[in-house]
């Protein structure tokens, strides 16, 4: 069996486990969905307040900023449904000492831990994101252009990849630090800056959020693409940047595992 076929099969088995697990805890869905929605709505209050006081902020109008918030909401949904559950499980493994079992398996550890848990029912915010985008375009009285939409779709893949790589980097830190419930907290806190167009930040911070922790890539660029404002070079660089970032994350993961196996007892 080729490697691709083999990992595709593994993927299907893992998804099956997740679904079975989800069916066990049906009651939690509703509660999670409600809390999620509440957070999203509460998070809109600053946006509304700010644009209640001003027409534009950092060159963005309310409708345009709403697009950015929509992308943020969508990525949050992907984070909650596809990325968080699995990678939180890694942290648990490290704490309980059962990561050894993962490392003993004849399959790539990063793949195994990343696909261990999916909770798609957490992704109610996908709908919220669609609602925000709809409201924005209705208020602007137009539709996104076709090339813009295609670019946005491509950037969705790019953004998800960057988000995943960021998470791998965060979890790799778990190998070095003993008690890291707060790592998810740290990640979410920094990610929260992606709620706003990157132009809100100035100087060094804007540079960091564009090139080091590429939040701009995840929410601002896709919004600009939808508005037809993203240049082709920027799009190309985003794709290349995401690829480089994924490669970097993989290297850090591998070296963290190597360190874990050589330093621990």
């Amino acid at each position: 069996m080729t490697a691709v076929a083999r990992y595709w099969r593994l993927f299907r088995v893992q998804v099956r486990s997740s679904v079975l697990l989800g069916l066990q805890y049906r009651a939690d869905f509703v509660l999670d969905g409600v809390v999620s929605l509440f957070w999203t709505l509460t998070a809109l209050v600053p946006l509304f307040t700010v644009f209640h006081l001003r027409q534009t902020v950092a060159g963005w109008t309310f409708e345009e900023a709403l697009l950015v918030t929509g992308w943020f909401t969508l990525l949050e949904a992907i984070l909650e449904g596809a990325i968080n559950p699995s990678l939180t499980a890694v942290v648990e493994h490290i704490r309980k000492g059962t990561l050894d079992f993962v490392l003993l398996k004849p399959a790539d550890a990063q793949f195994l831990v990343s696909t261990a848990r999916f909770e798609p029912w957490r992704s109610t915010n996908v709908i919220t994101a669609l609602v925000l985008w709809t409201v924005s375009f209705v208020r602007m009285g137009r539709l996104p252009s076709l090339p813009g939409s295609l670019a946005a779709a491509l950037l969705l893949v790019v953004a998800t990849s960057v988000l995943y790589s960021l998470w791998i980097l965060t979890v790799s830190a778990a190998f070095y630090v003993v008690k890291i419930d707060n790592l998810t907290n740290l990640f979410n806190s920094i990610f929260d800056a992606a709620r706003w167009p990157v132009e809100v930040f100035r100087g060094v911070i804007r540079w960091v959020f564009t090139f080091i922790i590429p939040l701009a890539l995840m929410t601002t660029f896709p919004a600009q693409a939808m508005l037809g404002r993203l240049s082709l070079p920027a799009l190309a660089w985003s794709v290349v940047g995401a690829g480089v970032f994924a490669w970097l994350a993989r290297r850090v993961w591998l070296s963290s595992i190597a360190r874990y196996t050589s330093a621990s007892s």
Binding site: L31, T42, P46, T49, Y176, N185, L186, A193
Partner: protein, 267 residues
């Protein structure tokens, strides 16, 4: 579990709590670094005030306000809701109950023991804030400084007691983390943490005056940076400590009920 024995145990409890915090210094650092909200908001509101002041805030005002928010957040944080949820879920609450100290006291000490370390980060930020904005906004009236320190204690108490109340609910529901998330969301919006209370439209302003959130962090920050007069300060102080009293009473009642249930079900 007498008061005297508790008081005598306090120094040791604090020492051990502090040593624990030092042992987990990396986590402490992460926790402090994770307080990015005030800084993100600072960037946002500075951008809003770029061309002209917003209400009574110009860019300098926002710098002072949000850096003060960062510092006050470090000094008034508590996480006992998560502790309680965890201990109820894993059954380790029983061990805490066996100790000859009231669990709430031991939680309080653990949460307080983090403050010295957080001060290590908070102090430089406070100094930076002073340097950037000058000391002109700080209160001159010594009474206001007394009120400020009282407001810090009150703010911590409300945060801790709210955490404790929600955490105690875990004795019924198994885990109250989600409820704490709801509280946190409301806290962030209505306390002055994300949006200075002054800038709210009148409708929301009314609600904010009545809810406890503003007294957790907005009140101390406003004392430091918004030039409140004695009358307003005292009025708000009273309001804050009424909430402290309400929460204290509520937590005691909840805890007693909760323990009964815990004992009945074997934990």
């Amino acid at each position: 579990m007498s008061l005297r024995s508790t008081v005598r145990a306090l120094p040791t409890l604090f020492r051990v709590g502090f040593a624990e915090m030092v042992a987990y210094r990396a986590e402490m650092l992460v926790w402090v670094l994770a307080t990015t909200m005030p800084l993100i908001m600072l960037a946002l509101w500075s951008a809003v005030a770029h061309d002209a002041p917003v209400g009574a805030f110009d860019q300098q005002d926002f710098v002072a306000y949000f850096l003060a928010t960062f510092v006050v957040r470090q000094l008034t944080g508590a996480w006992v809701a998560w502790q309680l949820s965890f201990e109820v879920r894993t059954g380790t609450l029983a061990m805490r109950l066996l100790r000859p100290v009231h669990p709430m006291v031991s939680y309080a000490v653990e949460n307080l023991a983090a403050i010295p370390l957080r001060l290590v980060v908070a102090l430089p930020v406070a100094i930076i804030a002073l340097v950037l904005t000058g000391g002109s906004r700080l209160p001159r009236d010594p009474l206001l400084w007394v009120i400020f320190f009282l407001s810090l204690i009150g703010g911590w108490l409300i945060t801790f007691l709210a955490n404790a109340a929600i955490g105690t609910l875990a004795l019924w529901t198994g885990s109250s983390v989600k409820l704490m998330d709801v509280w946190l969301a409301m806290f962030m919006v209505f306390s002055g943490y994300l949006i200075p209370v002054e800038l709210f439209p009148p409708l929301i302003r009314g609600a904010v005056e009545v809810l406890p959130f503003r007294y957790q962090i907005g009140f101390p920050v406003e004392l430091l940076t918004r030039g409140l007069d004695r009358g307003a300060a005292l009025r708000l102080l009273l309001g804050q400590w009424i909430w402290v009293g309400l929460f204290l009473f509520g937590v005691r009642a909840l805890w007693r009920k909760g323990l009964q249930r815990f004992a009945a079900y074997g934990g």
